[in-house]
């Protein structure tokens, strides 16, 4: 999906390696780049849907795929705050739970008002589709509001102080979800027993449609003036402020965007599982998402997506060895951190257009003396990405 998000170690302007000696380098126009990526996304979505309809992917596999998509959104959204903004928030599960509760309560209440039954969400109609989209936006907005509330005071702090305050805030959200019913005097979140009766509106198409949209939005945001400001803050906050970047504004912006997308993922999660209990959104959930980002490489959207995929599928694939699967998971983390502390992909990001441009310019890794950036099997990774 994403093209070249600005990376740490290379200059901003040059998009490739050394220029061909012939002088002018041929490149794709912006609309062509977007068209290529949009077609790729559509092809993968349609292919996936056809495979599910045809029975090549059974429901177990498609549910796991939905969870993969949800974790991809969570990881790439946390990547805004960790990878691009360079902060260490530990409260992503809190935003996820805001989104999950916001979205599912909205959908449950609205479907009561509109008289839509739980089965209608499975069969699907334009009305339910709009309702679900509305729910996801409401969930995202709930999370974004929580992000503003915590972001404004928290982002005055740095490093471990910020980690602690976000951790605490996520715990506050969890305890509020647990006890708000007895405070309000009517049933809203269902407390410890959980919120039940959430229709199963999450589907493969919806999840991966959201993945595509979220990746696109994050990508364009990071390519814009706002994104450059966020990256500038990461690289040197004092220098950024000295050059006129409003650091408070941009830190909050990045943080709120991160929270919003986590809320959308939370909404999808609610529809996938069908029951929400505050205990699910504890500290460990935040850590799980952070691990995905760190493992994939902070600042790499492809890295986050790839490690979210691997870390969601790995425990399922190892289910037969249930006693050992958590060890395998941990061993992967230890090995990666020892041998590749910058994460699997570092700050590399995949760009289909870049590859096409290289082909157009006959600029292949093997035809150059200087080493190309890591990423030998780009073609394979593309399928993970949409």
């Amino acid at each position: 999906m994403e093209e070249e998000v600005m990376t740490e170690k290379r200059p901003i302007i040059s998009t490739g390696g050394p220029q061909p000696a012939a002088g002018k380098r041929r490149s794709l126009s912006m609309p062509a780049r977007y068209a290529i990526n949009a077609v790729l996304v559509l092809v993968i979505l349609i292919l996936g849907e056809l495979m599910i309809d045809g029975g090549a992917i059974n429901r177990y596999q498609s549910t796991v795929l939905e969870q993969v998509g949800i974790y991809i959104i969570l990881a790439v959204s946390l990547n805004i705050a960790t990878g691009y903004l360079g902060q260490l928030p530990l409260g992503h599960a809190g935003f996820m739970s805001m989104g999950a509760y916001g979205c599912s309560i909205f959908i449950i209440r609205m479907s009561e008002v509109l008289g839509i039954g739980a089965r209608d969400f499975v069969t699907g109609s334009p009305m339910t589709f709009l309702l679900v989209l509305g729910g996801l936006v409401v969930g995202g907005l709930c999370a974004a509001v929580a992000g503003i509330i915590i972001g404004i005071p928290a982002l005055r702090l740095k490093g471990d102080y910020l980690a602690i305050i976000t951790l605490a805030f996520a715990e506050i959200i969890r305890v509020v979800m647990l006890n708000i019913d007895s405070v309000l005097g009517f049933e809203l979140t269902g407390g410890a027993a959980g919120l039940t009766g959430i229709p199963g509106y999450t589907s493969f198409l919806l999840v991966f449609g959201c993945v595509a949209v979220v990746c696109f939005l994050i990508h364009t945001m990071m390519k814009s003036r706002h994104g450059r400001a966020i990256l500038a803050i990461r690289d040197n906050e004092i220098a950024a402020e000295a050059t006129g970047v409003n650091t408070t504004y941009y830190k909050t912006l990045a943080f709120v965007a991160s929270a919003f997308f986590a809320g959308v993922a939370g909404g999808l999660y609610a529809g996938c599982v069908g029951v929400l209990q505050p205990a699910v959104f504890g500290f460990m959930k935040s850590i799980e998402i952070l691990v995905m980002v760190v493992l994939g490489g902070m600042g790499s959207m492809l890295g986050s997506a790839l490690s979210a995929t691997v870390l969601t599928i790995l425990p399922e694939a190892l289910r037969a060895f249930s006693e050992y699967r958590m060890i395998a998971y941990a061993v992967v983390l230890v090995l990666v951190m020892i041998f590749r502390p910058q994460g699997l992909l570092g700050s590399y990001d995949f760009s289909l257009s870049r590859i096409i441009e290289r082909v157009m310019n006959r600029d292949f890794p093997w035809s150059r003396k200087s080493a190309a950036p890591a990423g030998a099997d780009d073609g394979k990774e593309a399928s993970h990405d949409a």
Partner: protein, 399 residues
């Protein structure tokens, strides 16, 4: 040795090894769909076998496996052996849904015992409606579990039902004024408390005060002082045994010598791995539960000795419920097998469900039948304590 291997080579190598392992994992388990009808019947067992609540999950697992083992030794169902596929849910709803889908889609089970905790079980119940998959949960007590479709049953009684049972018991014993002390924020404790108070008031009992405490509290003197000031005949303490033990000890120190009422969370307060209350303080304490080793009925004593022979420890309430859940499911499977249906077909599943719904099972936690709902109609035990703290069956309340 490691000096000769570059990091890049090592990472590539280990990544390849892990991918390989994952693929073996996938390949080994795929393709089992439909079950191989001829010689065995596949059933799934799931629950939290690791993590915070693993003690409940493992107890249910042991109970269920013991039943299937005995059933297989007796010739199985219709000459077919039961083959149990066990998956861990880690107490997480997402994991539970994945485990359920995997059991149904990849392993081709014909019925499921599980899940154990309420949240994951609700998630599974919602997912299972579309398949009409027969499921029996040993221990999930939330009302919602059995309301999504007709395919879900439970072996235990609900929390509110326990509260109502104790209200009737209090009324029979002639208690006029009852106070309650419950854990706020706990689904279980609040549920029992609310149902008890409603039922007790309709039976003409006065609830003198309802006091609550927070999770992790160890000092209950303030609440107990308030309670004792209202001079109740009995105090309802619908919590888990650790808290119940402390409450009983502290109340006795404060001079309260009348009755305590409890529910199945009391199971294990004395004589288990640890004694949570002094034997001398446990006089006039009554709680209701499904199973106690002190029950002298024939099925219960046989279960206790079999369980001890198999696992080398005394069974808990959850072990007995796991055993009974397996028995309920097996009864349904027997009905479907006798009808000669093909395993995995829709008619087969419906026959299992009908078999469970219409049959009566003599379980170790009493006789279980379902009268048109997934909630069992079953007897309860009222347990009290002897002078040395040993549990005694005070009364068997028939359904």
């Amino acid at each position: 040795m490691f000096e000769n291997v570059s990091r890049r080579q090592f990472v590539t190598g280990s990544a390849a090894a892990i991918m390989g392992l994952g693929l073996v994992g996938c390949g080994g388990n795929g393709g089992g769909e439909g079950g191989d009808g001829a010689s065995s019947i596949k059933v799934g067992i799931m629950g939290p076998h690791t993590g915070d609540n693993s003690s409940y999950g493992l107890a249910c697992l042991n109970g269920a496996q013991l039943y299937f083992k005995q059933l297989n030794a007796d010739g199985g169902v219709n000459g077919k052996q039961i083959e149990a596929v066990v998956y861990d849910t880690k107490g997480d709803a997402t994991e539970a849904v994945n485990a359920y889908n995997r059991l149904v889609q990849e392993d081709g089970v014909t019925g499921i015992v599980g899940s154990v905790l309420t949240g994951p079980t609700i998630a599974v119940a919602q997912a299972s409606v579309a398949d009409n998959m027969p499921c029996v949960t040993p221990s999930a007590t939330a009302a919602d579990v059995v309301t999504y479709g007709s395919n879900y049953f439970r072996a235990c009684v609900t929390d509110p039902e326990q509260g109502r049972v104790m209200a009737h018991f209090a009324s029979e014993q002639g208690y006029k004024n009852v106070a309650t002390l419950y854990l706020s924020g706990s689904d279980y404790s609040e549920g029992v408390n609310a149902a008890f108070c409603d039922e007790a008031e309709s039976l003409g009992i006065t609830i003198t005060t309802q006091q609550s405490y927070a999770d992790g509290d160890v000092d209950f003197k303030a609440q107990l002082t308030n309670i004792i000031a209202t001079n109740p005949d009995a105090i309802l303490v619908p919590n888990y045994y650790q808290d119940d033990g402390m409450i009983v000890n502290q109340a006795r120190t404060q001079g309260y010598d009348k009755v305590f009422l409890g529910v199945d969370g009391w199971s294990g307060i004395y004589g288990g791995s640890e004694n949570y209350a002094d034997a001398a303080n446990l006089h006039d304490c009554y709680y209701c539960c499904a199973f106690s080793s002190s029950n002298e009925s024939e099925t219960a004593t046989k279960f206790v000795s079999d369980y001890e022979a198999e696992y080398g420890e005394a069974p808990t309430n959850f072990c007995a419920l796991g055993y009974d859940a397996a028995m309920v499911l097996a009864a349904g499977l027997t009905a479907a097998e006798e009808a000669g249906l093909e395993a995995g077909s829709d008619e087969y599943k419906q026959a299992v469900i009908d078999g469970v719904a219409s049959g009566t099972v003599e379980g170790v936690t009493g006789s279980i039948s379902y009268e048109g709902t997934g909630d069992p109609v079953k007897s309860s035990l009222i347990i009290t304590f002897a002078e040395d703290g040993a549990e005694e069956t005070f009364q068997v309340l028939e359904a």
